[in-house]
């Protein structure tokens, strides 16, 4: 392409872009027409600053900017190719769009969306309660005392919901972030889905059938509000190595709690490594193998008791062995780790990111990230392999995955330490290859019915092929918070001495 585009006077006009808000729509067309010309008429130099609306204004602009070659920059719209845009043009357009229309519009757009969602969530329970009165008042049963009590609970929960929605969505953001705030969007989408599903159910079951049972309707409205507050703290323990995590869940049923816990499991718990459990199993086997018990009496009870008694009396030094073995293992791991760190650091010094100017000068030995990774991998491969073997992680990482990770780290300018972090500590299951966690089937084992809601002290199991997660739920205690005011001027101190003088 022999056209060039320069942004002369860019900074001057970006300030004006706010004012030229209303020209936003038109400016898009102008950009399109201009870039059309850059393709069709190759001899024209486009020298226009962005976010400038109209061709007619260019004359005024010319006077203000004192640009010497403004005469050359007026473009004639030939209207040849309607939709031909090159990659550069697209990039330029999007940049211009963001600057001219982007900022304020996006902020207000998010805010309006949040307001709408908040209002929707707030008004839904109210609507649930009011609509029956409006639509079929004659058929409705009068609301008893229990029902009226529910009204009060609905009112208070609405108040809390209002505050929560305000806190989450309405507070003015301190900055405009480059990408949409994912968590908030997800939450908003979730809430929207929640509300929509409640409305669907309401519409089908209650509005259509014109349910005269008003109490049921009020209870349904209350149930919408219950799911949202945290009420239980569950403690999840993995049965094989005792890894424990705590989560806060709302007033939900056992199966939904199980689902939430499994989702958390994949990103919080370190990956299940069966190789680490072999040591304790062999110790247990040794304990059993050392004893031979002969059944003289013919009674089952006495045999087990005799075994336990014999084991207690036997003077074995297995604890000693364990201690020294663990110390030795620790030392070995540390030594291998030191070798690994040094090897990786040295390997990383062999490659350097090339700057753009250098690329043009020496095109000979240039490599893309994958080739660079393959080039430095052999120097650290042995140390890494030995370390993984010592920590029994060798089956988690294939050579291909290590090279991929290395290329990834090189591309993103990561340090050797950042590269090593995923091998030095066991990460969550999601970090490893898909076949580690994709083919998981979970079984929920619970004494109480799985659709019943969580209770204090409830225990259930989530069984997987290799291990199981033991889940205990505890009610979050009632918290009484009181306030105490301390005047900052009341912080005063004295010196306490005790000296001894010899006379």
């Amino acid at each position: 392409m022999d056209t060039e585009s320069t942004y002369s006077g860019y900074s001057y006009y970006s300030g004006r872009s706010r004012g030229s808000h209303r020209h936003g729509e038109r400016s898009r067309d102008r950009h399109k027409s201009r870039s059309k010309d850059s393709r069709s008429e190759k001899s024209v130099t486009i020298n226009t600053p962005p976010a400038e609306p109209l061709l007619g204004d260019s004359s005024i602009r010319g006077e203000q900017v004192q640009d010497d070659n403004w005469g050359e920059t007026t473009t004639a719209i030939t209207g040849t190719s309607e939709h031909s845009l090159s990659q550069e043009d697209i990039v330029r357009i999007t940049k211009d769009l963001e600057d001219s229309v982007g900022l304020d519009c996006r902020r207000y757009f998010t805010l309006t969306l949040a307001i709408i969602l908040g209002l929707l969530v707030f008004l839904t329970p109210v609507a649930f309660l009011v609509l029956p009165h409006l639509l079929w008042p004659e058929k409705l049963q009068s609301c008893g005392t229990a029902c009226e009590g529910l009204f009060i609970s609905v009112a208070f929960k609405l108040l809390i919901l209002l505050l929560a929605v305000w806190a989450l969505f309405f507070r003015a953001p301190r900055a405009g972030l480059p990408r949409v705030f994912v968590f908030r969007t997800l939450l908003a989408v979730l809430v929207l889905l929640f509300v929509v599903s409640y409305w669907l159910f309401y519409g089908v079951r209650i509005l259509d059938s014109q349910d005269p049972n008003y109490q049921g309707i009020v209870q349904y409205a209350v149930s919408l509000l219950r799911q949202l507050q945290p009420a239980f703290s569950v403690c999840v323990t993995r049965s094989t190595d005792g890894e424990k995590r705590h989560y806060n869940l709302g007033q939900i049923s056992v199966q939904r709690a199980a689902l939430a816990i499994i989702e958390h499991y994949y990103c919080d718990f370190p990956v299940h490594n069966p190789a680490l459990l072999s040591a304790s199993k062999s110790r247990a086997a040794k304990h059993l193998a050392g004893l031979k018990v002969y059944n003289v009496d013919g009674l089952a009870h006495s045999q087990s008791r005799a075994m336990i008694a014999a084991a207690a009396r036997r003077r074995d030094s297995s604890h000693n062995e364990l201690y020294y073995e663990e110390a030795e293992h620790e030392r070995r791991v540390r030594k291998r780790r030191a070798r690994l760190v040094v090897a990786v650091e040295e390997a990383f010094t062999h490659i350097k990111r090339m700057q753009e100017e250098e690329q043009k000068k020496a095109p000979g030995d240039v490599m893309d990230p994958r080739e660079a990774a393959q080039a430095i991998f052999p120097s650290m491969a042995r140390a890494l392999q030995k370390y993984l073997r010592t920590t029994k992680q060798q089956h988690c990482h294939s050579m291909e995955s290590i090279q991929q990770h290395l290329a990834f780290c090189i591309t993103n300018n990561m340090t050797p330490k950042a590269f090593l972090e995923s091998y030095l500590t066991a990460g969550p299951t999601l970090q490893y290859s898909r076949d580690h966690w994709l083919s998981r089937q979970w079984t929920l084992i619970s004494e109480a019915s799985v659709t019943s809601s969580l209770k204090d002290g409830m225990v259930f199991l989530l069984k997987c092929v290799d291990f199981s997660l033991v889940v205990t739920s505890r009610k979050i205690p009632y918290i009484q918070l009181s306030e105490e005011y301390i005047d900052p001027k009341s912080h005063k101190f004295v010196l306490r001495l005790q000296s001894e003088t010899s006379v």
């Binding site: 306490r496 001495l497 005790q498 000296s499 001894e500 003088t501 010899s502 006379v503």
Partner: protein, 124 residues
């Protein structure tokens, strides 16, 4: 030995006369004092009442003039040569004891065992 501020205090006291020993340029008595109204009474290991800000004997050099004269560690000094020592600062107490012109100091001290001894002798 505990007392109420503003009220007269009674204690069984012992007179001790210490001859100062000349060591080079200084006259020494051979003991250390602690306490005073500007000090922290709670850290005094010898006082019964932890609000007592009097002057106490914290250390005695064995064989020194104070030891010879019969001063015991833990004694509370009530008077030095007639000057009161129950309401003085630590530095004032030190000055009263180390006057260069005086060769002899006459102390009035009190200790717990004195009261016990008096009670015992009275009961006999």
């Amino acid at each position: 030995m505990s007392y109420i501020p503003g009220q007269p205090m009674t204690a069984v006291a012992q007179r001790i006369e210490i001859q100062k020993l000349r060591q080079g340029d200084h006259l020494i008595l051979g003991f250390s004092i602690g306490g005073g109204i500007d000090q922290d009474p709670g850290q005094n290991p010898f006082s019964e009442d932890k609000t007592d800000k009097g002057i106490y004997v914290t250390r005695i050099t064995p064989g020194g003039p104070a030891d010879v004269a019969g001063l015991v560690m833990g004694d509370k000094i009530l008077q030095v040569n007639g000057w009161d020592m129950t309401m003085v600062t630590h530095d004032q107490a030190r000055k009263r004891l180390t006057k260069k012109k005086e060769d002899v100091v006459r102390l009035l001290v009190t200790r717990k065992s004195l009261e016990k001894a008096v009670k015992q002798s009275m009961s006999h």
